[in-house]
């Protein structure tokens, strides 16, 4: 018993200096906490969703935080995840490359606005000796992905590419193994141009691919295509540009062979745009537009009074959306995203102005 007390005394008394230090540390940490609580008067918004626009949003939110103070936290968990989190009301806004289906809207319960922020293109890329620039028609692309056209020197491919001599190798189709908005856009295009595709496979973020290998994410597909001679896959334009991969020109609805660029992607939106902007830009009517383009949207509830949200936060969200569709658009092109056309911005403005708090529009 005695030696226990001695042990106790020895170690506790030695820590007298430690005790003083502890007091000081506690004091300063409380002070720091109070300071940050004082500074924390800035608004914080949370978003989640599509990975495709993540580099652009990341840059936009960084600039917005420096200029306007509001802090935005965006988690790139995928379009499906964004829709799910918005439905669960755990985030302030969702990001999606795909339009919400009727079932999704039903689960959400309240009207959800689709506000476009930028556009992107899906290109078909391949690995052939000499990196030739090939031309494709929609039916050829569909039949390659259906597994019906099996060799590069098939008559239908050489017919459009007279100058190039495609080799006698098998086509190795590469698609996405994970669910993604890129696949949604691509499959929606194929469903429009090929009735057989529409019947056999359909459109959506994850598909029952009739042929080919799967790569995880855009980098996975790009990696597989770059490594496999004779491969044929699809990636976002940005990845093809950054990895210096060859991509094909595609014949659009009006009969022009269009090369996928930022300009032709923006031009794809030169069609009749509906007021709710839930438009699928694939197989566009625009004469100079690239046929496999699509908007990416920010999804918000029209009525912002839910889950104890303050009017201040709702106003901050509306301000952010306005900035993203106006001043923020100048950050799109340097990062290889296609900015919104004037008509698209006009429609977006109307949508933003219709966001309400307690049934009163927030933006006057």
């Amino acid at each position: 018993m005695n030696d226990n007390l001695n042990w106790f005394k020895k170690y506790f008394m030695r820590g007298v200096k430690m005790k003083e230090g502890l007091k000081v540390a506690v004091f300063f940490s409380i002070l720091l906490g109070l300071c940050s609580w004082g500074f924390g008067a800035e608004v914080e918004l949370i978003g989640a969703g599509a990975t495709f626009p993540y580099p652009l949003y990341s840059k936009m939110y960084d600039v917005y935080h420096k200029e306007h103070g509001a802090k935005i936290n965006y988690q790139a968990i995928g379009s499906g995840g964004g829709i799910r989190q918005l439905t669960n009301k755990t985030v302030d806004f969702g990001g999606s490359d795909a339009i919400m289906s009727d079932k999704d809207l039903q689960e959400a319960g309240a009207p959800v606005l689709h506000i476009p922020t930028c556009a992107g293109a899906v290109v078909v890329t391949y690995k052939l000796a000499g990196d030739p620039e090939l031309k494709f028609t929609p039916d050829v692309i569909a039949d390659i992905f259906l597994g019906k056209i099996k060799k590069w020197n098939d008559a239908r491919i050489t017919a459009m590419n007279q100058g190039v001599k495609p080799p006698d190798t098998d086509i190795t189709v590469v698609h996405r193994s994970d669910g993604s908005g890129t696949t949604s856009i691509f499959s929606s295009y194929l469903s429009k141009v090929s009735p057989e595709w529409k019947e056999k496979v359909g459109a959506g973020p994850s598909l029952n691919w009739p042929a080919g290998l799967g790569g995880k994410g855009n980098p996975g597909v790009a990696g597989l295509v770059q490594q496999t001679p004779g491969s044929f896959g699809y990636v976002e334009l940005i990845y093809a540009l950054q990895n210096k991969m060859p991509y094909g020109m595609i014949k659009n609805k009006k009969g022009n062979f269009v090369k996928p660029t930022i300009a032709t992607t923006s031009l794809a939106a030169n069609t009749a745009l509906p007021d709710d902007m839930k438009v699928d830009l694939t197989d566009t009517d625009a004469a100079e537009g690239y046929p496999i383009s699509g908007f990416t949207w920010i999804l918000v509830y029209r009525e912002q009074n839910y889950a104890n949200k303050t009017e201040e936060k709702a106003k901050a969200l509306v301000d952010l959306l306005w900035w993203m569709t106006h001043e923020g658009q100048k950050y799109a092109e340097p990062l290889h995203y296609a900015p919104l056309s004037k008509a698209a911005v006009g429609k977006a403005e109307k949508l933003i102005k219709s966001i309400t708090y307690k049934d009163m529009p927030i933006m006057k």
Partner: protein, 312 residues
Amino acid sequence: MNHTIADTAVHASRAKITMQYKWGISEALFRRLLYFAGLILVVLLAAIFFSLAIASFPALRQFGFSFLIGKTWDPVRGEFGAFAFLVGTLMSSFMALLISTVFSLPVSIFLGEYFRHGNVSTFMKSVIELLAGIPSVIYGFWGLFLLVPLVRALETKLGVAPQGVGIFTSSLVLAVMIIPYASSIGTEVISLVPSDLKEAALSLGATRFEVIRKIVLPYAYSGIFAGILLALGRALGETMAVTMVIGNSNFLPKSIFSPGNTMASIIANEFTEATGSLYLASLIELALVLFIVTTIINISGKLIIRKMSTGK
């Protein structure tokens, strides 16, 4: 030198009483703590099983048994069948086990019999521990950028479709990943073989090789098998490394070189984008199937071990 056994016993019990008095912890309380810790583990396992079963209920109700034999996985139409993934998982895991045993058994004998102490032993053991510690994503990248071109060259020579990715490549990557698990347990068990058995055999004129073959291995058999079982469990659940090199094709693999898919890989790939309750429930049912398959393999492995130990 005149300490009798009785003296020692009295001394020990006196020490125990003083110890209990000093620290105030009773024997019974300590035992209860241990039981509680064990119970928590059992409860956790049951909780995982039930939460998987409950969450996959919509799919269970819709598909029933046909989920296990269905060959199509079509998220657009809502038809889900796990057969292709079941076959892919079992094929890649068992192939990996076969390939890894070719290496892990010799390594176990090497470190358990020949080089038990010393620099070589320390070096080899550190290398193996390092292999076990490498994150699986890195294995995936290594497989994708180094192994896939090599396998593609092999496939061109064999005249098979030169895709590079496939069940074979994923088995190779898995084999390297699971070698440490089998070999470390094997090393321990082999080094625990009583030396009087070995010396008896040597004194009767057996060569070193005969001693290993006839004395050491039969004695350590059940332990080596337990190590192999552990390695198999690891291979069944491996996700990231497999999904990068298996080709992700939702069809039944026709040969070892064709691409395929495993249950863990498809769950990891499609879970974040899965919208719709049936889709999610089907993915969770896949997880349940994987859980059950792993449990069945573990239990049958344990039964085999018990039969081998008692059958001696």
